[in-house]
Symmetry: C2
Subunit: 135 residues, 2 copies
Amino acid sequence: MTADEERITVAQMSAETGVTAHTLRYYERAGLIRPVARNSGGHRRYSRADVAWVSFLLRLRETGMPIAQMREYAALRERGPITIQPRLELLEEHQARLREQLARMRAHDKALSAKIALYRDDRGQAQTHDEEQDR
Amino acid sequence: MTADEERITVAQMSAETGVTAHTLRYYERAGLIRPVARNSGGHRRYSRADVAWVSFLLRLRETGMPIAQMREYAALRERGPITIQPRLELLEEHQARLREQLARMRAHDKALSAKIALYRDDRGQAQTHDEEQDR
DNA sequence: CTAGAAGTTAGAGCACGCTCGAAGTCAACC
DNA sequence: GGTTGACTTCGAGCGTGCTCTAACTTCTAG
């Protein structure tokens, strides 16, 4: 249908996404990527859309979404536009979790700063604080 | 030395820190917690300082520090105030990594928002966008 | 004193997300 | 058409961080 048929090998895909060839195949096996198009010899030929999809998957992964849930999302996507609503809900829930995570990280950052400030004061003069006292 | 000898059982420790008794013992084995004081029967009796230390460990864990590095930090702490400088450096490096992580998460959050906005527009009217086109 | 709850150790097992090896096939270039 | 390198599948293996079991001991309340 589409006139431009730019298709890339697994190695090129790996270079573009930063994911190893092994992992790309694993993602396919795991149901995150639908069966990739093949050339006459049975070698994978990824499309531009595949690149975009994997990039999106990586975003989900890096924000802590487990493979199982990514698979769920991928399965919904397979079923076409009728699943837009549930996909939207899934993403919204994920974003909510991401934001909680962000809040926690910010709090940890603040606490770390306080701890580091204490250590800076201690430097040289042998002092102790909080959980540093020995029995 | 210290007059107040408030010491708690592993179950109480678990309740206070949110870490299971199994995991508390694992942390001890792993070298994250120094050998905990025991009562006459060989049962662990955690001190208040232990609670503070475990809380701090959890902060490191939740910000993605691997057990091995936490062990390193714990080992430095064992060696007393002379190791304040290296401990400070370790914490500073960790905070730097944490902040990079925060930056990435924020970017992911933004991207997710954009994606969600697109989905909201699509809702009902069967449209497609980015990596949604089928083949 | 005794029943049952809670603690102890050593070590096995598990969930997750890759990661790799082996053995064979295909592609690309001279 | 031969050689070299990329690709294929299948399945095993691995690193991390717990998590659990078994068999046994101790503690606590009645």
